[in-house]
Amino acid sequence: MVSLIVNGSRMDIETDVDKPLLWVLRENLGLLGPKYGCGIAQCGACRVLINGEATPSCVTPVGSVAGASVVTVEGLSQPNGTLSAVQQAWIDEQVPQCGFCQPGFVIATTALLKATPRPTDAEIDEAITNICRCGTYPRIRRAIHRAAALLAER
């Protein structure tokens, strides 16, 4: 049994402690926003915030983060459905193509903007290492700058 705070709610999960957080979220908790893309911490599709840090959940045994606060893409918008600034910027820039990689990028950007509210292009290149096979990178870059500006206004 492992306890986590997932998107603000405490969850007690009956699971093998070695099971990666990604599969606990997807299979045990039905949170399907985090995606499986590689399983080896390369693509970032599975990124979630663990105590605020964007982490590849595919290589994070759930037992190693017991008690932690986990935020998935589902937890970014407000309970009334209002999107986070990053999500809104993603819509405004019409970023996604297939969209499979995007929850991971949105999570990675959320963490980046927390640490670096107005990132430069070089800081974006350094921090955002996810893979998008559809090639939405130019729009991701624009959306990160837009989200930064939105957050500065809020």
Partner: protein, 773 residues
């Protein structure tokens, strides 16, 4: 079972496509005549008013558009819904939603892709038979950049027809002539009396009226939606992380499966050495061989299934390919150049003798190669299938082809001794597809497992390792190109020979009831003929080179290699002629105003001819493909240590009339990224018959730090729409190779152009290969 899905119909039309004269038999014609390709009669489905095969209206004014095209990121759901909204005369807002219909109605068939005749121009007996045969087959697929070309007109007519029926219903209700009524904003209005009725109020009556024969289409001058960028309908759910992909399908009592395919394609499972040990792993409920060639592990969790699958010790039978290496594969391609029996696609004039007779200084010859490549769609390959005790089956798949899903499900269940009496096909969003998801392989496997576990949905997921190293591939290819230049420096003779493994044969052998011979594969020579360059003597040939590798569609197929070959070669010709590559192409395209306009636009955007810093270079490439003309200029920097960076790519495309401009820009951006990864990074190597690469650590992808600036320009056009899903990929490799040549003087003739080095966690850089000595 609807009549168009019957087994008899399938056999009949399968035979017809095979080239027999069966369809001409009286019974066949009578049978096909009964196939309704033009639509579904309006009817009520609960409170939903189905006005035709494409338009459904709810009482609360919501409009559901049936789009029988897979949304895989290209924005097709939005584009075709825009067309319907335009003709229906409603605003393009969140009252509109799109679904992929589960029925295989003939009106949804992808006949355009086969017949290559635009619906708006289609007539005559060949079209009549072709539409019925393909409708009968349930041939519904998304690919070949053909969705807008094939569907925009039928969907315009569907929207216009529905609007007409709503007007007629309002005229009856208000007891006024339809002529006095107008539509707008989802209402029918009677100006004289100030009365109005919403579409939702009218839809039930409208659905029961006969559709008009030839509904008038909205004049283009009145368009308010088509041609103006609209936000994609599928994006909000994707941004919220909603479960829209096949990978996310979750059903009651679902179980999960992992799979292992043979490392050397074609090998059989001889023995599972440790089956009992794997079965005893936590949560494992089944370990089974599928079709003698793969091993699946079933559990209550995919993670458990995959963990156990990793422990499998499988002995595979030996095959002829067990010793094949990349070097041997390359040698096979090269030896195909000596073939005495290549297939001749074009032989105009006397290319061979003109080249043989030309002085050496006027002859250019060059060989080019590209490797095998997997698709690496971001969403790993998966399928969910349920076989019920009553014999019905249902599948949920991120697939490009309901036909492949139905056939795969029937075949897979059949391998387990179950003949499903029907297969319901649910097409989900695809997390990338690139041609990959038109194969029935994964559905066959999942259906086999579902038939063994009747009553429980089985979700089979391939690990990324299975996808990259054990799945389907774009063929490797090589070309020998030769030309003789005339006194003006332009080619007077062009002789092209491509060696590749037949794409069509590969696909057909796994997916269709009939397999053509390997020779003369049309897909393998796409981009090789260069018909837009006026060369008086032209020969285009192909040589099929067999291997054990399973070959499949891959975004832009033959263009993905041939355009790299040919646009590099044209640069080599220009260099020999002492001409600037742009000037040279302009001369070649002097009688092609459409191409010339695209070329000029891209050159202007690129600032062609303006000064660059040392180590920088620009390269240009152009292609006509999928009825579009696309040109790109790449600007690269090659550092002293050989590190190559693509700084900027500009792209101009003439895609005819563009429905959703922003979606076309996105497709160019995405195509450029895909093409750039291919040009600089991607390679599959073979060792002892098996693919060496397995995941993104050794089969890297472009990341944001390496993504160039991209600018896209869309040419104004009033011609009907042409393809955009693939063209963005096509010129990239040639443009980059030409830019590297401009920067360094080095002509690199094989892909990838660079060697990828790992320089940190999730960091790579691309460096030009050492100069061969």
């Amino acid at each position: 079972m609807p009549r168009f899905l019957s087994r008899r119909g399938f056999l009949l039309t399968g035979a017809a496509l095979g080239g027999t004269v069966l369809v001409a038999a009286v019974g066949g014609v009578g049978y096909l005549a009964s196939v309704d390709v033009d639509g579904l009669d309006g009817h009520l489905d609960g409170e939903r008013a189905v006005l035709n095969a494409f338009v459904v209206i709810h009482p609360d004014n919501r409009v559901v558009v049936n789009v029988p095209k897979t949304e895989m990121g290209q924005g097709i759901h939005t584009g075709l819904a825009m067309v319907v909204a335009e003709e229906l005369d409603i605003p393009f807002d969140d009252r509109i939603s799109v679904v992929f219909p589960t029925e295989a109605h003939p009106a949804y068939s992808t006949w355009f892709n086969v017949l290559q005749i635009r619906p708006e121009e289609a007539s005559g007996p060949a079209v009549w038979v072709g539409r019925r045969v393909l409708g009968q087959l349930g041939f519904i697929a998304t690919g070949a950049s053909g969705s807008t070309m094939g569907m925009w007109h039928p969907m315009r007519v569907a929207g216009a027809s529905a609007r007409h029926m709503l007007l007629a219903a309002a005229a009856a209700r208000l007891n006024v002539p339809a002529m006095e009524l107008a539509t707008g904003d989802g209402f029918v209005r009677h100006a004289a009396s100030g009365r109005r009725l919403s579409y939702g109020e009218l839809a039930h009556e409208a659905a029961l009226l006969p559709p008009p024969d030839h509904p008038a289409l909205k004049p283009t001058s009145e368009w308010r939606i088509i041609g103006r960028s609209q936000p994609r309908v599928d994006i909000p759910a994707k941004i919220r992380g909603e479960p829209v992909f096949g990978m996310d399908v979750t059903l009651p009592h679902m179980i999960y499966a992992a799979i292992r395919h043979a490392p050397v394609f074609g090998a059989q499972v001889a023995r599972i050495a440790n089956e009992a040990a794997v079965r005893s792993q936590p949560g494992i409920t089944d370990v089974t061989v599928i079709d003698g060639r793969k091993v699946a592990v079933v559990a209550g969790s995919w993670w458990q299934a995959e963990q156990a699958a990793r422990l499998l010790e499988i002995d595979w039978t030996s095959t002829d390919a067990d010793s094949v290496s990349s070097a041997e594969m390359s040698a096979r391609l090269r030896s195909a150049f000596e073939s005495t029996t290549p297939y001749e696609h074009i032989n105009d004039g006397n290319a061979a003798s003109v080249i043989a007779d030309a002085v050496t200084s006027a002859v250019i010859e060059a060989d080019y190669t590209v490797p095998f490549l997997p698709h690496a769609c971001m969403e790993p390959i998966n399928a969910t299938v349920l076989v019920r005790d009553d014999g019905t089956a249902e599948a949920w798949v991120s697939s490009q082809s309901p036909m492949a899903v139905r056939r795969g499900a029937a075949r897979g269940a059949g391998l387990a001794g179950v003949e499903p009496i029907s297969v319901t096909c649910n097409i989900t969003m695809n997390g990338g597809a690139f041609g990959r998801r038109s194969d029935q392989d994964v559905v066959t496997e999942a259906a086999f497992l579902a038939a063994r576990h009747r009553g429980r949905p089985v979700k089979l997921i391939w690990s990324r390792e299975e996808d990259i190293g054990r799945g389907l591939f774009r063929s490797h290819a090589a070309a020998r190109l030769r030309a003789a230049l005339g006194p003006d420096g332009l080619p007077v003779a062009y002789d092209a020979l491509v060696a590749a493994q037949s794409i069509t044969q590969g696909i057909a052998s796994r997916n269709l009831p009939f397999t053509p011979g390997p020779d003369g594969d049309r897909l393998s020579v796409e981009g090789l003929d260069k018909l837009h360059y006026p060369i008086p003597n032209r020969r285009v040939r192909s040589q099929h080179v067999p291997s054990h590798m399973p070959i499949h569609f891959w975004r832009s197929n033959g263009f993905s290699f041939n355009t790299f070959f040919t646009e590099s070669f044209i640069d080599e010709c220009a260099q020999r002629a002492g001409a600037d590559p742009l000037t040279y192409r302009r001369a070649l395209l002097r009688d092609k105003p459409r191409h010339l306009a695209v070329m000029n636009r891209v050159a202007e955007m690129a600032g062609w001819g303006t000064a660059l810093r040392p180590g920088q270079g620009r390269g240009i490439a152009i292609e006509e493909c999928y009825r579009s003309v696309v040109a790109q200029v790449a600007e690269v920097t090659v550092a002293a240590n050989g590190e190559v960076r693509v700084n900027r790519i500009v792209c101009a495309i003439d895609a005819g009339l563009v429905i959703n401009p922003d979606a076309v820009v996105a497709q160019m951006e995405g195509g450029i990224s895909f093409g750039l990864t291919t040009a600089l990074i991607s390679a599959i190597t073979l060792d002892a018959g098996a693919v060496v690469e397995s995941n993104f650590h050794d089969f890297p992808m472009q990341r944001i730090a390496d993504a160039p600036e991209i600018e896209v320009s869309i040419m104004e056009s009033t011609e009907p729409p042409s393809g955009v899903g693939e063209p963005g990929v096509v010129p990239v490799a040639g443009a980059i190779a030409n830019a590297i040549h401009a920067a360094t003087g080095r002509r690199i003739r094989s892909l990838p152009l660079a060697v990828t080095e790992t320089i940190g966690e999730r960091r790579t850089r691309t460096v030009l290969p050492p100069v061969a000595t």
